[in-house]
């Protein structure tokens, strides 16, 4: 069997060593190449800490993280960051450039890449997130959805194998969120990108191949979204599942399995 692209083994992290409370307690997770994994959990569950550890911004006190077979540590983190990129919640605080294309080029400049190659990469990245026509705009004056597209392009330009989204869609209105989600889905399918999205948006989680529920720094449940939403009734769910739960409460004979909106419509019409 192929080795997972990301492998976390028994990760432990606490911000303050004097405090017993661990932010992350003994978390082990494997992510397969080309997979879409959603890590969900409420504020304070430790999700963002996990995201920062994945890119080497924080170092676990115990356990190890392997990315593409290499152990992530202070010596390997710069090299591995070309393979694993992180998109943060608030793009406004990430922009370095005064135009969209300057900002996307920032990561490439850091690699000391020749100009011709940079131009090509910037163009490709802009195209992937459908922002070509905004290349000369000031990123801080774009709409929320566009800003996050630029931030994602800034990472994609580096040609990473893995994209980590740390609540990157949270600030967006539902419509921009749906649009960006479908863009990310295309990227995953067409470019074989592995996407780890850390989120509390259940529609985002439902769109993933697999989801992990984090609670107080521990993995509470792991599985297909369709199973998790049915098993964990107290978890906020996507719309069709919410309807299914209400109907079930009313004693209607709904199947005890997760349905997408499309499947729900078809089932109703049967």
């Amino acid at each position: 069997m192929k080795e997972p692209i990301v492998q976390m083994d028994n990760i432990v992290f606490r911000y303050d060593r004097r405090i017993q409370q661990e932010t992350i307690s003994n978390v082990s997770l494997a992510v397969e190449e080309g997979e879409g994994l959603a890590i969900v959990g409420d504020n304070g569950s430790g999700k963002s800490t996990l995201a920062q550890m994945l890119v080497g911004l924080l170092t676990p006190q115990q356990g190890s993280i392997r990315i593409l077979g290499k152990v992530l540590n202070d010596n390997t983190k710069w090299e591995l960051r070309r393979q694993i990129g992180l998109v943060f919640q608030n793009p406004d605080n990430q922009f370095v450039g005064t135009t969209v294309q300057d900002d996307i080029a920032f990561g490439l400049e850091n690699l000391n890449m020749p100009l011709q190659e940079m131009r090509k990469r910037v163009e490709q990245a802009l195209e992937m997130v459908d922002m070509l026509e905004y290349r000369f705009h000031d990123p801080s004056r774009l709409s929320g959805g566009q800003k996050q597209r630029v931030a994602i392009a800034g990472i994609l330009a580096l040609n990473p194998s893995i994209l980590v989204l740390d609540e990157a869609l949270v600030m967006l209105d539902p419509k921009s969120r749906r649009l960006l989600l479908s863009t990310l889905h295309d990227l995953k399918r067409n470019n074989g990108l592995t996407i780890i999205s850390i989120t509390h948006d259940m529609d985002e989680a439902a769109a993933a191949d697999r989801m992990v529920v984090l609670k107080k720094g521990r993995v509470e449940m792991e599985g297909y979204p369709s199973d998790v939403f049915v098993k964990k009734q107290e978890l906020e769910a996507p719309f069709a599942e919410r309807i299914r739960r209400i109907l079930a409460q009313h004693g209607c004979g709904v199947p005890n399995k997760y349905m997408t909106e499309q499947e729900m419509v078809q089932w109703l019409w049967k």
Binding site: R81, F88, N93, V96, D102, N110, M113, P114, I155, L158
Partner: protein
């Protein structure tokens, strides 16, 4: 804040807007230096002609430049006043003990006034027609030789460009916090000095906290995109020296020659 013209950029598409920032910076500094060649009315007349022509070329109305001088007028008049008092020679018009106003003093005062105003005008031309980011790039390019002496030119210019990029955000943020506190009944600019200082705490503290957060997020974002302070970086934004930039520098040489001729052939007044 709205009145300050010097240091601002006005978008436009004049011949001057199009010049390379390096050409503009060199020409601007050079102009200030050759101002000191002028010593008679012919040379000053030529410099005025040149200054007005350059201002015309910027396609920005003269009144904008005049507004730019206004905040500095007291400083200029004070210097002129000192010059008048402390220059002796020629006919003496007023003699009140320590205060004497002489012919040479008056003429010198007028020259100093002209010199000052021209310096302000020309610097304003440079900043009004050059994007801050281009200015930064220009300065970086001109200071590049200093890198041989281990001066961190690239780090400085990145720092400068990031600061420039965050100014609008800081303005936004300030406005927001002021509005929020005003909505809670806070009043600014009223009462005794102590009281006024007190009303500033609810503004500065939140701004300080958010700036720290912003800085941390920015630093994380930059690190994730591979920025290392000591690393060698390529540059995406390229400055391009054009024929018109050469013309600009030729014009400066032409002006110098004309000044030297007028200085020696014209009637020096001392």
């Amino acid at each position: 804040m709205n009145k300050l013209i010097l240091g601002r950029y006005l978008p436009g598409d004049s011949w001057l807007h199009d010049l390379d920032p390096r050409a503009k910076l060199v020409a601007g500094v050079y102009f200030i230096l050759i101002l000191f060649i002028a010593n008679n009315w012919q040379t000053y007349a030529l410099l005025w002609l040149f200054t007005l022509l350059v201002m015309k070329l910027s396609n920005i109305p003269y009144r904008v430049y005049i507004r730019g001088v206004r905040p500095l007028i007291w400083l200029i008049l004070f210097t002129v006043f000192l010059q008048i008092l402390f220059t002796a020679g020629g006919t003496i018009y007023i003699d009140w003990g320590i205060i004497t106003i002489s012919e040479f003093g008056l003429i010198n005062g007028v020259y100093i006034f002209f010199r000052f105003v021209m310096i302000v005008f020309i610097s304003t031309v440079v900043t009004l027609t050059t994007k801050p980011i281009d200015l930064t790039d220009g300065i970086n390019a001109l200071l590049r030789p200093l890198k041989k002496f281990k001066v961190p030119v690239d780090e400085w210019s990145l720092m400068l460009s990031i600061s420039l990029r965050f100014i609008p955000n800081l303005l936004d943020e300030t406005q927001k916090v002021m509005d929020a506190q005003r909505a809670r009944g806070s009043e600014f600019g009223e009462g005794s000095l102590v009281k006024q200082m007190k009303t500033l705490v609810p503004i500065f503290l939140p701004l300080f906290v958010s700036s720290l957060n912003r800085a941390e997020e920015l630093a994380n974002g930059m690190e994730v995109r591979g920025y290392q302070a000591s690393g060698t970086r390529s540059t995406f934004r390229q400055l391009k020296w054009k024929f018109q930039d050469t013309i600009c520098l030729m014009a400066m040489i032409g002006l110098t020659i004309a000044l030297v001729i007028l200085r020696t052939s014209g009637v020096a007044f001392h």
